[in-house]
Every structure is written in C-alpha cells, then in structure tokens.
C-alpha cells in the first residue's frame, strides 16, 4: 500500500474550476428559465453571470483540451478498442452486484489509468457531444444580441433554447450521478479527498502496474 499522485495540481484546479462553473451555469440557467417561480437569482444578474461564466467555461475547456493533448493525458479518455466491452461489463457488474458483496474494484486506479471504461465512454459523450452542443447553442443565444436576424438561420431562439435547456438537464443529471459515483470509492470520501489532495492510496508496491482485470472475474 502506498500513496500515489493521481491528479496533478493543474488537473485538480481545472476540475474544481470547471465544477464551480458548471454548477454556477446550472444555477443561473435555471434561475433564468424559471424566473419568477423557482429562480433564486434575479433575472438580470442571472443572465449576466451566466454569460460571463459560460465564456470562462469555454476558455477553461480549451485550456484543458490543450493541456490534456500536450501531456498525452487525453489518451486516457479513449477506450481500449479490444477489451472495452469486457471491462465495461465488469465495471457495470461491480456497480450492480460486486460492491454490495464487498468485491474489490475491478480497476485499480493509477496515474496512467484513472478512468474506468464507463467513465471513459461517459466523458467522451460529454466532451464530444454534450459540451459542444451546450457551447454552440449558448454562444448562438449570446450572439443574437448582435444580430437578431441571424438566429433565424438556426431555427429561431425557441429551438436553440430547447436544445440548450435539454443539455442543461442532462448536465444536471450527470453532475448528480457523478457526485454519487464519487462516493463509491474505498470509503465514501476517498475520491473527494483524492480530487483535493491529488493522492490516492494504491495497493501494491510503488510504481507497479494497475490491475485492470481481477482473477476471480474472468469467468
């Protein structure tokens, strides 16, 4: 057992910064959408904050993309083409059965392999579909203040708002699931602590390879 650095300082900063911004966007976005009923931030403030934070998120996303691309960390998002379905099934089985019977986690995390197969496919979908959709529709909604007529080219503000709102709901659902699944570590707080300190307690000697497949799960 030893402590291993899973997340660098920048990665942790990036994560928490992105988390704060996503939560702020959700809060302000829902305040705009449900203004006067469930909105808790005044409309004008919510719109301004939403626009500013939205742009910060876009900038942070591009910085993150640049970082993950240049450090090669981006590879961790790409699923293993051959055994992904096996690994994904094991992960799913662990979530639905194994963890209730005190089975060990199918994936031992390390700095080189931080994401389980289900995380990989989820983050890929979010980074390649949901986030771009939100950014494009959000920027289009923002841009209409300069050219209201151009908005008609993309189906009108109503259609844009519908897609943006649906994306927001999915983001909210993702955040909820993400936070819950973060409690499925060795202890409910383990993953939170890791994302704050960067270190995680890993079995085996320092520098050993992760154990992607457990012996007893081959059958």
């Amino acid at each position: 057992m030893h402590k291993e650095l899973i997340y660098t300082l920048y990665e942790r900063f990036w994560h928490w910064f992105q988390a704060v911004m996503i939560l702020t966007l959700l809060l302000t976005g829902f305040s705009v959408h449900y203004s006067g009923s469930a909105g808790i931030i005044p409309f004008a403030t919510a719109v301004r904050l939403h626009n500013v934070v939205g742009w910060l998120l876009v900038i942070n996303a591009f910085l993150g993309f640049f970082y993950y691309l240049t450090t090669g960390t981006l590879r961790q998002l790409i699923p293993e083409p051959r055994e992904w379905h096996i690994l994904a099934w094991r992960q799913l089985r662990y979530y639905l059965y194994g963890m209730f019977h005190a089975e060990p986690h199918p994936l031992q995390r390390s700095r080189q392999r931080r994401l389980n197969p289900l995380q990989q496919i989820t983050y890929l979908a979010i980074l390649n579909i949901l986030l771009p959709v939100q950014v494009v529709t959000g920027v289009a909604l923002w841009f209409m203040q300069y050219s209201p007529k151009l908005i008609h080219l993309v189906g009108g503000i109503g259609n844009l708002a519908a897609v943006h709102m649906l994306g927001a709901w999915f983001f909210a659902a993702f955040v909820l699931a993400h936070i819950y699944l973060a409690t499925t570590g060795p202890t409910p707080w383990a993953h939170f602590v890791t994302m704050i300190t960067g270190y995680e307690v890993v079995e085996g000697p320092s520098g050993s390879d992760p154990l992607p497949v457990q012996q007893n799960e081959t059958t």
Binding site: S35, G39, F43, F100, Q145, L166, A177
Partner: protein
C-alpha cells in the same frame, strides 16, 4: 513663443471669467428649468397662433359675400379664394373616407368582413358605428348617405363623400337641383329638410325580410326619414362640403356643427362652426350674420375669428380627449366622437395626472403628464404631417434609392400654401385600414429618437429593439377608462350594452373610481414585415349577422322591431346626450338579459335569414399616453418571468354565449396573428371571456416565460430517474454494511 504663451494665458483667463459668470447661472437654472418649461407651456397656444392669417371674406356657394346674400358659408369658396380647395378636398382621406375606391362587398380579401366595401373609412364596418351606409345595389339597405351623415357625420369633416357620395356628380346636381337652390336658414324646417316620397323608384319596403324591388341608390334615398324609404332632397339640405374651419379655426363650434348635421341641414354646418367667433348668431333653427363682426369690405374682424394651424385640440374633436394646459380636467365625459379615448383610454394632455380632479386610484403618485409628447409641446401634426409639407416631408424609405440622403424635390412654401395636400402621414394601425397607400408614412418614435443611443443600459439591446415596439415599455399603463366590450345583440334605446375597463363603480359614492389598466401585449406584423410585440386594448364585440349569400350585420331597426319584449337588467339608462361615460355619474348602459336562441328565433320569424350570433375582438394599438422615460418598464422580470406581462390575461367582458365567445377571433385585417387562447372564467357571478396571449405561437421565445414543456418533462424525468437509481443503489450499499455491523456487534 512668448506671444503664444501670452495668448494661452489670456484664453485661460477669459474662459475662467466666462465660467465664473456661467456657473451660478447653471446652478440657478436647475430650479428655473421647470418654471421656464411651465411658462413655455402656458404660452404655447399664443406662440403657435401668432401666425396671422389675412382677413377672410366669408363667401357663399355662389361666391357672394354672405353678409349680402344671407346664404350659408361655403368653405370651398371662402378658402378657395386663395387655396386650391378642390385639390385639398380631392387629396384628403378624411374627406373621401375611402369612397373613391369602393368595391363590391366580399370582393376584397383584405377586408375584415364580407360586407365591407372600402378598405377602411365609411365602408369598413366597425361595431362602434354599427349602422352601415349601404352601397349601391344592395338589397335590404340600412342607411342612405343622408342618413349616414346625420347619424355619424359628427365625426366627419365633410368633403368628397358628403358632396358626391358614391358617384362623380355633385349630389345637388343628381337630384335635379342646382347649388343655387340650396336651403337657406329661413326655409329649412326645424325637423330637417323636406323629404319627398320617392315615388315609383323608391324602395318598396324596409321592413325586416323585405327585398328591394329596384336598385338601391344610397346617394338619393333615405331610410330613416319615415316609415318608407324616401328620396332625400339635397337641394334643400345642401351637401356637406369640407369644413376647413373645423380644423383651422382657433375655437370652432363643433357642437353647433353637429346639431346642424343631425338636423340634416348640411349646408349650414360650416356656418354653424363659426358660431363661437361671434360672426354668426343662431336664431331659432336659423342663422344670422352679425354685421358688426365684419368690416366694410365684408371681411371678418371678430377677435375670435383666428385661423391657425391645426392643433391637437382640433384633431381631438373627432379623435379623442385633448386637454390643454389651461383647461382643468375636472370631469371626464366620453362620447362616441372621442374615438381614441373610447377605444384606448387615451387622453392627450400636457397636464400632470396628479393635477386633474378625476377620481383616479393612486393619483398622488402619478406625478407625470398624461402624455410626454403633449408636455413637450408636440401636436398631432408633427407626426401626422401633410405629406407635401416642405418643412416636414421625408420621402418614405420604401422605394427610395438607398444612396439618396436628401430629397430636394419638394414644394416651395408658396406652392404648399396654395395646394397643401391633406393626405396626412399615417401609421399602420390594427384597427383602421383607410388609405393603405399612405401606411407607414408618419414619423414614428425611431424617426425622432435614437433608440440605440438611449438604451445603452439595456442588455441584448438589438433583440429588444427588433422585437418590441417602443410603446410596449414606454406606455406601461393607461389611466383612463376604455371600452372592454360592446354588445349589439340586444340594443336598448338604439344603444349597445357597453362594458368598461379601467374603472370600478363605487357603492359608497356615485363617482366611479378610475383604476386604469395595463394594455395587453400582442405580436403584430409591422410595416416592414417584422413581427413586434406592442400594447393593445381589446374590445369584444357581439352582434347578429344575417348570413347567406350577402352577409351583413342585422339592421338596427330590425333588431329593435323584435326586441320590444326583451327585458334588460335594471340600470341607469344612458343620458340623452351622446355621452357614454362620465366620471360625474354612473353611466351604465342596459345589460341585455336574454338567450341568444330566443333572439335568433325572433329574428327568423321576422324574416331575417339565418341570423348568426357573432363575437369578435377588435384590437386598438396604444401609441399615445407615453410616460416619461423614468417610468418606462425597466425590470427584466416584468416580461422575463413566469408571471410575465407578455402572457398577462385580459378580460373581454361578460359573455352571453359561451361557445360563440370561445370561437371569437381578433379581426383578421388587423395583422395580429392568432397567438392567444380564450377561456371563459366563471369565477365571478357572470362568466367573463379571458384572452391570454401566447406569443410563442407567433415565433417569440421569451426567456423566463416561454417553456418547451416536453424538454422540462424529459429533464425532470431524467433527474427523477437518477435520484431513484441513487436511492436504490444506496440502499443496496447500506444493507450489507448494516449486516456486517450487526454481526460484529453480535461477535462482541
């Protein structure tokens, strides 16, 4: 170098001296500004009417001075001595009311109703002027031209329609009379001109269900003069020529003019308008000229005879209440001629609302003028100017070469004064379609105000300016009563049942409390083809239509004939005058108390074919009563919230027939899309028709208000699913944990 320095020093010293002198003045001026403005306002009338007009010789139709002839004044001959009166009359939609281009009913797709025969004006029927001037050839005619003038001429300035009717020949000529034989004060009977039985070419009968035997000629036949249609004697009555004095005289006597028109003494209408000048005096039913008011050359020298440019007061005689700075607004009486007050609650006045003596709720806080433009010394003509006025003319953007910044081809002032077009610049109203060729020629808010510069604080400015009319935010409320519903389905004493919004009747006193109202915001296609949200008052109109091949509203006389046994709820009858609302008394019209089935049955028995109870909604765009900028709507939540103003429900009065009311539509010619829903609210004792705007149906999406319900439901279900999954998963995680804890405890 030294000289330069000395110059610089001298300039600084000079400027310091100037500032030293100016600064105290600036400090004082802040207090003085209001006083100066008030003085300017009080002197407004005098300043504007200082323009002196040359002495006027009043001429009769033969060109003789009326002092000598004793004949009625002819404005056409009197003013025509210097101005091209013929040209003016022929270039004035106020004078022809669209009659020059009338069409057979049902032949225009732009018409609001199948029975309309002009695009607006006289042939564009509205429930506010229920009785129709029936066009030539119509079976079961309603009013002839003389009848129509007597009934509705109080809002008509005279001219083309009143002189030529549907044809091109002067009515007095068509009748076999010449203008020389026009009625004189001495031979005009008190009850109006002599009417002759029209003989064999008269209508056979005008009783319900009867058909005309011969072709109906509205120019010659009167249906109101007796039990039978009769030929109208234009030679005796004279025609209703364009009354220049009604708009250009400082204090025209409109009441006397209306009296003459109602009596059918059309030729004397112009003369009666001069009663307030002292140049003419009423003697019984006749008029005599006051020779002391004329000089030796026969020109009027009376002090009160002041010719001037039309001010808002003159326009207000037919278009709505105008209260000048000097007039105390102690009582508000609304009559049928107060069109904009009646339909929109408009009062054009520079006075502060708080200064009026009206019983207005929260009046002490309304320290603002009734209309900011009136307070800024603007008159109607500043925006609705004569289209060839060289000082105000601007070529319309439509069809104008983009490179053309200035149009030099305009009249000289001399040319303009000789032949001033009386085609006035007009907007594009939802309720009126007269002279569509001039639609959008008027000066709008954006022609004077730079909205972009004035709204730097406004987020998403371009969107707001593109999708909203200025009035939406700048007329947040109306502080006078306006019609809510007009019901002609069972008229009492020839009058409809009226309901008012913006006013509540007080039980403790006999004085109504004016609460005002917030206009409903609806989308409408503007002149440039763009849909914009603007403020409206809506009036529900109910009436009977005689459907069939030639549908038309059931004639008032037919309705009155079958309604003799119909009871009306008790209430004060309206007064004998044309006042339909007064703040001095409870003026409630009689509420019909009947079933539509019962009335329909009676109409059928009386020969009205397929009577159909019709309910429609008339929109009236609110463009006046603009508030100062500080009182404009600025709070985002006013529109961007679940309780958005843009979705605010609007009452349309008590309903008689639920199904028909639900089917009601805003009149199609208004350009307002059907972006609204109608419900019947039964929360009160009487069911009320409620209209709720749904701008989303017209392509608007208002953040904070608009919803895609399927998106919200899908998102909500996704969240619920995630929460349920977490709860189930958590419980499965906790159970083994608790079991292990229990077993450890047992082992201990």
């Amino acid at each position: 170098m030294g000289t330069t320095k000395r110059n610089w020093v001298r300039r600084v010293l000079e400027r310091s001296a100037v500032w030293a002198a100016v600064l105290p003045l600036i400090m004082l001026s802040s207090d003085r500004c209001m006083a100066i403005a008030e003085v300017a306002q009080s002197q407004r009338q005098e300043n504007l009417t200082e323009i002196t007009h040359r002495p006027v010789r009043l001429l009769d139709a033969n060109g003789q001075n009326v002092i000598a002839s004793g004949q009625p004044v002819s404005a056409e001959r009197t003013c025509g001595a210097c101005h091209d009166a013929q040209y003016i009359s022929n270039h004035c939609y106020h004078a022809d009311l669209g009659i020059r281009r009338w069409f057979r009913p049902g032949q225009s797709e732009r018409a609001a109703h199948a029975w309309d025969y002009t695009s607006g004006g006289v042939g564009g029927w509205t429930p506010f002027f229920y009785q129709r001037l029936s066009p030539p050839g119509e079976s079961k005619p309603d009013l002839g031209l003389a009848d129509w003038l007597r009934t509705y001429g109080f809002r008509y300035v005279g001219g083309r329609l009143g002189q030529f009717g549907f044809g091109d020949q002067l009515l007095t000529k068509r009748d076999g009379h010449s203008p020389e034989q026009a009625a004189t004060p001495n031979d005009t009977p008190a009850g109006g001109p002599q009417v002759e039985k029209s003989g064999p070419d008269a209508m056979a009968s005008s009783s319900p269900g009867s058909q005309s035997e011969l072709t109906w000629d509205p120019d010659l036949i009167s249906t109101l003069s007796g039990n039978q249609p009769m030929r109208w004697d234009w030679g005796s009555s004279g025609t209703l020529e364009m009354n220049c004095f009604l708009c250009h005289l400082h204090s025209p006597d409109n009441a006397s003019r209306i009296e003459e028109i109602k009596a059918g003494r059309f030729a004397w209408a112009v003369t009666a308008t001069l009663a307030s000048t002292g140049a003419v005096v009423r003697k019984g039913t006749q008029w005599e000229y006051n020779k002391q008011a004329f000089d030796q050359r026969g020109a009027v020298v009376a002090q009160a005879f002041r010719i001037e440019r039309p001010t808002a007061e003159q326009c207000g005689q037919c278009h709505g209440k105008v209260v000048s700075a000097h007039e105390q607004l102690s009582c508000l009486e609304i009559s049928w001629s107060d069109w904009s007050t009646l339909t929109k609650g408009q009062i054009f006045s520079p006075q502060r609302i708080s200064d009026s003596e009206l019983n207005i709720a929260g009046k002490e806080t309304l320290v603002r003028p009734w209309d900011i433009h009136a307070a800024s010394l603007l008159d109607c003509r500043h925006c609705h100017f004569s289209l060839d006025n060289p000082a105000l003319f601007e070529p319309p953007a439509r069809g104008r070469p983009k490179h053309l910044r200035f149009e030099p081809r305009r009249l000289s002032f001399a040319e303009y004064l000789e032949r001033p077009s009386h085609q006035f610049a007009k907007g594009d109203t939802a309720q009126g379609k007269i002279a569509p060729e001039f639609t959008g020629t008027m000066r709008t808010c954006r022609d004077c105000h730079d909205a972009t510069a004035a709204h730097e604080w406004l987020p998403f400015r371009a969107v707001h300016l593109a999708r909203l009319e200025c009035e939406t935010c700048h007329i947040p409320a109306v502080y006078a009563p306006a019609l809510e519903a007009i019901d002609w389905s069972a008229p009492a004493n020839g009058q409809p049942f009226l309901e008012w919004r913006g006013v509540t009747s007080s039980n403790s006193t006999n004085v109504p409390l004016i609460t005002g109202f917030r206009p409903v915001i609806l989308p409408r296609k503007a002149v440039d083809g763009e849909l914009r949200l603007g403020p409206y008052n809506l009036v529900r109109a109910s009436y009977w239509v005689e459907s069939g091949a030639s549908p038309r509203p059931v004639r008032l006389r037919d309705l009155e004939a079958i309604l003799s046994g119909v009871s009306h709820n008790t209430g004060h009858n309206r007064s004998e005058s044309s006042v339909v609302f007064s703040t001095n008394q409870q003026t409630r019209s009689l509420q019909p108390h009947y079933s539509t089935t019962e009335i329909a049955g009676r109409l059928k028995n009386a020969g009205v074919s397929s009577p159909e109870y019709t309910v429609e909604i008339w929109p009236f765009g609110i463009h006046h009563g603009v508030a100062p900028a500080r009182l404009a709507i600025r709070q985002c939540e006013t529109c961007h919230s679940s309780s958005s103003l843009l979705g605010q429900s609007f009452s349309l009065g008590k309903v008689q027939d639920d199904d028909k009311s639900r089917e009601a539509r805003i009149v199609s010619s208004s350009g307002i899309p059907q972006a609204y829903s109608l419900q019947i609210s039964s929360s009160t004792q009487n069911p009320v028709l409620i209209l709720t705007p749904t701008p989303e149906k017209a392509g608007f999406y208002i953040l904070g208000k608009s919803r895609h319900n399927w998106v919200d439901w899908l998102g909500f279900l996704a969240m619920v699913g995630i929460v349920l999954a977490i709860m189930v998963h958590t419980s499965f995680r906790i159970v083994p944990y608790l079991s292990s804890v229990r077993s450890i405890c047992r082992q201990d």
